[in-house]
């Protein structure tokens, strides 16, 4: 470009092509100035759009058929009935909400309280465990689960407290959107990095952006991976009835594996055969045996899409 500008002295008039070159030069200079801003604006728009899209799909009652207000009113009635000690009425109202596919962590907690007050400790533990699947981590839930465990001595699969607490801060979709957005910001920042001169301030800034984006994407990926998905809980079940026993074969006349599986114990279903289920029981060393299916309740019998 500079060669053309410093043309030989015998040029009398500036040729048309030289005018065009000048315009192109100024365009490039202008483009260099606005390019970083444009890219950053686009990344911001993309991030905001992703969050907005996620918020749209995860908004309370986003796809429920019944009006949200009626569900809220029914929840309030159930709550009031529980406070008054009318557990049967409270349970009917709460289960009515479940039948209409109105699910929430708070409703699971309420059903857990009702079950506990009705001395159904296995059911109570199951509702509390279901409530822990959704943000945000609750100290009350953890304490209630611990209390039921101390009363029944139930057994459960080992968990990692840090992972569970961390992953429970957001839903799986939210973790995914954050991870996806961060990855796009990273890719765009890496690309735009090479548009600028070496040792320029913009390059330093983009380096910082891509490191932060990579860290955010990693953290979001871990949150997404650790968060319970339907695949992880599909085969889990909880002992909800008392006097559950595990046998070596699908018959009460066969040998005993475990004489009394405490209510609230988590098991993994391996096979179902008629009225019997072959399960894995997380005692100190994993044991397997046949349990009558009527003692078990599936961990997540609802629509798997609620776990996303």
């Amino acid at each position: 470009m500079l060669k053309l500008v410093s043309a030989p002295s015998f040029f009398i008039r500036l040729p048309f092509s030289q005018c065009m070159n000048g315009m192109f030069n100024s365009f490039l200079i202008r483009l260099n100035r606005v390019r970083l801003k444009a890219v950053l604006c686009m990344a911001l728009v993309f991030a905001l759009h992703s969050i907005y899209a996620n918020a749209q799909t995860s908004a309370p009652g986003a796809d429920s058929n019944a009006p949200k207000s009626s569900a809220d009113e029914q929840y309030q009635h159930a709550r009031e009935a529980f406070e008054k000690g009318e557990f049967k009425k409270a349970e009917e109202l709460a289960r009515g909400l479940l039948r209409k596919e109105h699910l929430s962590s708070e409703l699971f907690q309420l059903l857990g309280h009702i079950s506990y007050r009705r001395d159904e400790l296995g059911q109570a533990a199951l509702w509390y465990e279901r409530a822990t699947l959704f943000p945000t981590p609750s100290v009350e839930l953890r304490q209630n689960i611990m209390h039921i465990r101390s009363r029944t001595g139930n057994v459960n699969f080992p968990s990692n407290g840090f992972r569970d607490q961390y992953a429970a801060f957001l839903t799986r979709s939210q973790w995914f959107y954050i991870g996806g957005t961060s990855l796009w910001v990273f890719v765009i920042a890496v690309t735009v990095y090479y548009f600028f001169r070496r040792r320029s301030a913009a390059r330093v800034f983009l380096m910082l952006v891509r490191v932060l984006a990579l860290v955010t994407a990693t953290l979001a990926g871990l949150g997404w991976y650790w968060h319970p998905s339907y695949d992880k809980v599909e085969r889990l079940a909880v002992i909800t009835e008392q006097d559950a026993r595990a046998y070596t074969a699908a018959s009460t006349g066969s040998g005993m594996v475990m004489n009394n599986i405490p209510p609230g114990s988590g098991v993994k279903k391996l096979e179902e055969r008629g009225a019997w289920t072959y399960v894995e029981i997380p005692t100190e060393q994993l044991v397997r045996g046949w349990v009558e299916s009527r003692f078990l309740t599936s961990y997540w019998p609802f629509n798997p899409a609620y776990l996303e």
């Binding site: 060669k3 053309l4 009398i12 008039r13 040729p15 048309f16 070159n21 192109f24 993309f46 992703s50 899209a53 996620n54 799909t57 995860s58 309370p60 986003a62 796809d63 429920s64 569900a71 809220d72 709550r79 529980f82 000690g85 009318e86 557990f87 049967k88 109105h102 699910l103 929430s104 962590s105 708070e106 907690q109 309420l110 309280h113 506990y116 001395d119 159904e120 109570a124 959704f134 009350e140 304490q143 209630n144 611990m146 209390h147 101390s150 799986r172 979709s173 959107y177 996806g180 796009w184 765009i188 690309t191 548009f195 006097d243 008629g274 009225a275 299916s293 899409a305 609620y306 996303e308």
Partner: protein
């Protein structure tokens, strides 16, 4: 008698050969036909059908709903789709498969069956069931199923066989928290056969009711000249708050075999029976719950109601200061043991007291409200000074039989406590010298302080005011919003990359060594240029390309004339097309000559 050897004639030999050929033909047919039948059977068409047997039942009766697949590999139906009002009698599914060969044709049949029932009379249509056969989805035909109401006479006859439940409370008026025996009796007619008894369910509003056991005490009784088996289930209950309440009715889902009408055989084992699912309801009981009196309520009372005794043991009885003593306290009696917390030491000033551990000495499961129960607390205590006895422990409760509060105290247990090794006199001279009467205990260097520990006795019944309803969402990567946003971001990225590549190419083109010459050549091609400008550009091109030769010299001469001659008019005349072509040809030839 002469023996004549048997000889075949030619005709006979031919006949034998014919028979042999015929036999061989039959043998081949025998081998080939079943095989071909097998092939045709396996490759033949498949059939899917459904049926209900029997097609008519009484309310609460059972029928078998079967889905049959012939001639193919069928997928399992986990749960059939049933119309409203029809339910599964049992959650299990039974399967069977059989194979039949009819006229050499092999047919396989796979049957899946469920037990279904309904309580409401009416005509039901079981909708088509979806089943995959050899990977293809097939539907069964809808099946009709009728539940017929019993006639008046039959209903009266069946009512005789209906099971009954009654509940009975040990007391009709009792205190809040008091444990009261509760009995549920199930009466089963002797002519019926009990198949299954569900859990006895009882509304638990305002009461804490221990779950009824699955095992019952069994006896026989006669009511209205009818013999009944009586299954007695024992449990306990306690009231959560004072007031007047109605307890019941208790219900349970029961399956019994009722005798069919007109059957002459006397016993259900021998006669044809009709399985029925029934849910009898019990009587209701009016209960009055009395609040605990405020008068005389001891400090630290925490709602324990019953009649209790308390004992204590401690060992060893001979220790040094700083050495642990194990104390075991047992509480026995009847009452709400769940509410009992550990008894407290009355004077713990000279003791280091560790948290106690509770253990059951009798199983609470076998407790029926009347028999005695026993629990224990074990605790470690350490004397910090020389003491003479283990102080007494106290435990308060309300006795419903005496209608007053009691506070039990254990007797002090005499001890011999010798000075410990860490005991020194105030002067630091040791214990061997003038030992003071009340030695001072030096704080042990590494004795850990027992950490406070939570003791949960109930749930935190916190219910959030608002419920954040969950939404069923597709997996994020299937969400339209995510796909659209990713496409936009990808588009931005591609645009940036293409822009960068284009910029680099254009810049490289502009900065090439022959860029000036190419620009000049392009300018030479413009039409109607003034001669001065045209030849000036040509001269510039000649200089850039370092062209030489006679024709080039002539061109430069023309350039000088056009630009620097006094006659400026000639320089302003436009160059004709022929002249422009000639000049360009000269330049091309000179450039070619230079390259050569």
């Amino acid at each position: 008698m002469t023996f004549t050897p048997f000889k075949f004639s030619c005709h006979q030999m031919a006949a034998v050969r014919g028979w042999r050929l015929l036999m061989l033909l039959f043998l081949c047919c025998g081998l080939v036909l079943p095989a071909s039948a097998q092939i045709s059977g396996s490759s033949g068409g498949t059939g899917v059908s459904a049926q209900v047997s029997p097609t008519q039942i009484r309310p609460g009766g059972f029928a078998n709903f079967s889905v049959m697949v012939e001639g193919g590999d069928a997928s399992d139906i986990q749960q059939p789709t049933l119309p409203e009002g029809v339910a599964l009698g049992s959650p299990g599914r039974s399967t069977s498969s059989d194979m039949s060969i009819i006229n050499g044709r092999t047919t396989r049949r796979y049957t899946q069956s469920w037990q279904i029932t309904s309580d409401k009379p009416g005509k039901y249509i079981i909708p088509p069931q979806e089943v995959k056969v050899n990977g293809r989805t097939r539907m069964t035909e809808p099946v009709e199923f009728v539940v017929v109401e019993r006639g008046a006479s039959a209903a009266a006859e069946y009512s005789m066989y209906q099971p009954m439940i009654s509940i009975e409370a040990g007391k009709l008026e009792f205190y809040v928290g008091e444990i009261v025996p509760l009995t549920a009796s199930l009466y089963i007619h002797q002519d019926t056969l009990l198949r299954r008894v569900g859990l006895i369910e009882l509304p638990k509003d305002s009461f804490a009711i221990q779950r009824f056991p699955l095992q019952a005490d069994e006896s026989v009784t006669t009511m209205g000249k009818q013999p009944y088996r009586v299954l007695t289930y024992k449990s306990t209950m306690s009231a959560l708050k004072p007031g007047k309440y109605t307890l019941g009715p208790a219900t349970s889902e029961i399956i019994i075999d009722m005798p069919s009408r007109g059957n002459p055989l006397p016993h259900p084992f021998l006669m044809q029976s009709d399985p029925q699912k029934v849910r009898p309801s019990s009587n209701e009981i009016d209960i009055k719950v009395v609040p605990l009196p405020e008068k005389g309520k001891p400090d630290g009372f925490n709602g324990v109601v019953g009649d209790f005794q308390m004992n204590i043991t401690a060992e060893p009885m001979n220790v040094a200061v700083g050495e642990p003593i194990s104390v075991e306290i047992t509480i026995s009696g009847t009452g709400n043991f769940d509410a009992i917390v550990e008894p407290k030491m009355t004077d713990a000033s000279k003791w280091r007291v560790y948290p106690s551990r509770r253990f059951n000495m009798t199983s609470p499961d076998s407790y029926d409200g009347g028999t005695s129960q026993q629990i224990g607390y074990s605790q470690v205590i350490i004397p910090q000074q020389q003491v003479t006895s283990v102080p007494s422990y106290k435990f308060s409760f309300f006795s419903p039989t005496e209608n007053k509060y009691f506070t039990l105290h254990t007797p002090p247990i005499p001890l011999e406590v010798s000075p410990g090794e860490s005991m020194v006199s105030p002067s630091g001279e040791g214990l061997a010298g003038d030992m003071p009467k009340t030695p001072v205990l030096q704080p042990p260097a590494f004795e850990p302080t027992p950490q406070a520990k939570a003791e949960l006795t109930d749930i935190l019944a916190y219910v959030p005011e608002k419920s954040m309803w969950l939404a069923a969402k597709p997996q994020p990567w299937r969400s339209e919003a995510f796909i659209l946003t990713s496409a936009i971001a990808g588009g931005v990225l591609v645009t940036l990359l293409l822009g960068k590549i284009g910029t680099v190419i254009v810049a490289a083109n502009r900065n090439a060594a022959d860029a000036t010459a190419r620009a000049l050549w392009k300018s030479l091609g413009h039409r109607n240029q003034p001669a001065a400008q045209f030849y000036s550009t040509a001269a510039h091109y000649i200089k850039e390309k370092h062209l030489q030769g006679a024709e080039i010299a002539a061109l430069l001469h023309t350039y000088n004339e056009a630009n620097f001659s006094p006659e400026q008019e000639a320089g302003l005349q436009p160059v004709s097309a022929e002249e422009r072509s000639r000049v360009l040809q000269v330049l091309r030839n000179a450039e070619a000559g230079q390259r050569a």
